[in-house]
Each structure stands twice: as C-alpha cells, then as structure tokens.
Amino acid sequence: MGIKVVCASVIGKSNNPLYIRCFDNTEEPLKFHYIVHSALDVVEEKSTAKKGASLDLYLGMLYPTEDYRVYGYTTNSKIKFIIVVQEDGDSHDQAIKNFFRKFHVLYANTVANPFYTPDDLITSRKFNEELEKQVKTV
C-alpha cells in the first residue's frame, strides 16, 4: 500500500497552528513545520479560487516536495487539516479522504470537551493517542 503519514496538523482560523505532530523520527520537525506553513498559501489559493463556497471539503494534493506530498482538508469553520505523507507509487486518494474524515471526527470530539476552548492549542491526550492509532492504520 505504501502510504505513511509523517506529519499531521490542525490549523486554526487565522492560520495559527493548533496542533502539529510529526511521526517520522528521522527528520527534523522544523522541516515539517515549514512544509505545512508553505502549504497554507496553497490552501488560501484553492479556497478563494472557486466562485462562492467550494463544495468539497477535501482540497486534494496541495503540492509535492522531493519525497513527500502534502494534502489539505478544510472545514466550514475555517479549520484546516494538513497532512504530509510519504508515498511510493500512485496516490491513494480514497485512503487519504478516509483519513481526513476520521481526523475531522476526532477533532469534533476533542472540541466537545467543555474544558477546551476553540482556537486553543490542542493538548488532549486522547486526541494524541487516537491520532497515533489512526496514522498506524491508514
């Protein structure tokens, strides 16, 4: 199958990072922070390009780098999910879409916690553990 999610991030309304987690120990996390940050520009471009609201929450591949590809997903509340994957061969669009859907549900459950204020950094242990599980089974 060959997809490996190496980085997952949640970006808030004002493009502030709420959560960035890297799953690849060989690379420096800063590199992924940079990749995600540059991907935000592409997200802006894609969401303002279409006239009116874009129908699809899934934004597709944002841009490829040497070994990685970046995918984005936006919600109507302007929260964006950006993931960096390492894949060999063809793109597994369906699997990525499924991952984003589960990621979105996970985010919604975390927001339901009364002790979490939206637009705060996500520090929930449950979120971390669940995300790890999802990344392993992508």
């Binding site: 459950n109 975390t110 339901a112 916690n113 009364p114 002790f115 979490y116 929930s124 242990r125 449950k126």
Partner: protein
Amino acid sequence: MAQKGARPYDRIGEQVFAKVDKINAELFTLTYGSIVTQLVKDYEDLGEVNTQLEKMGYNIGVRLIEEFLARSNVGRCADFTETAEVVAKVGFKMFLGITANVTDWDAEKKEFSLVLDDNPLTEFVELPESYNKLWYANILCGVIRGALEMVQMKVEATYVKCVLHGHDVSEIRVLLKEILTDEIPASMRDE
C-alpha cells in the same frame, strides 16, 4: 448473589425507559459541560464547585423523585438493599439511560457502592491536569441525596472513583444516615 426481586428491576427499568421522552445525548453532555466550566470560572475553588454541584443535584433530586414515582409505579421498598437496586436499575436507567451496579455492601447493610461503567455526562470530557479535586459528575450525588430524602431516607452520597481521574469505572458511595419519620426536610423548614 441473586436476590429475590433483583431481576424484575432490570425489566422495569427498561420498560420505563422506553416510555419516557428522550433528548439528544450530545446536547445534554454539552449543556452539563458548560454548567461545570461556568461554575469553575465563577468559584475558582474546586472544592466549592463540588459543593455547588451537589446542591444543584439536591434540588433536582427532590423534584425528580415525584416524576420517578409517578412513571415507574414501583411500590414501597422493603429495605435499604431494595432501595439500592431500584435506584441503580430503574432510576439511573430512566433518567440517564444507563444501569448502575450495586456492590460492596457493608456488614450492617447501611452502605453500598454504585458502580457506573459509562456516564453520558462525561462523554468527550477530559479534565485538565490541575483539576484533580473536581468530581465532575458530582451533581449525581446530590440527585441521589435529594430524591431519597423525599422518601424518608437521609443519605450521604460521595464520589470515590471517576473515569475522568483515570479509574476504569466511576463509583459513588452511598451511606444511610437515618430513616426519617414524618419530618419536614431541612430545606423546606428554613423557608
């Protein structure tokens, strides 16, 4: 340890649960969550928040018991052990949709534990690090105390274990202080 009459309460509980109105679970959970966070902001001291939740629960309990008695048609309980079963199987089922288990009776049958496997109030909730003193669902202790007071039993209910604190189940310890005999409950006497 099968007690005579223990089984029927499960069935009664389910029957009553089927008849009552239901609301959306997430709405309920979020509403309770915002009550707790607001109390935390207002009182700042977590012990005080626990007390307030218990008082709120007490006020709910004294009113809830009437609804319970009207809907469930459960007759008089022969003794405290039966009361415990009714609370756990019929009461909790009717209002929260869950059944609790009654365990750990003491020698004199005046104290027992109510064990809850899951609780709709605590769905999605994660307590921040510094909130160790907070018993999030403490309102339930008040409800038990209020409801039982209206049927002439003075009890003390306290949380001893909570899933939000890392335990695998939630446990409320209920202790019978005394059986009241035709007295006006304290809350109404003071008015």
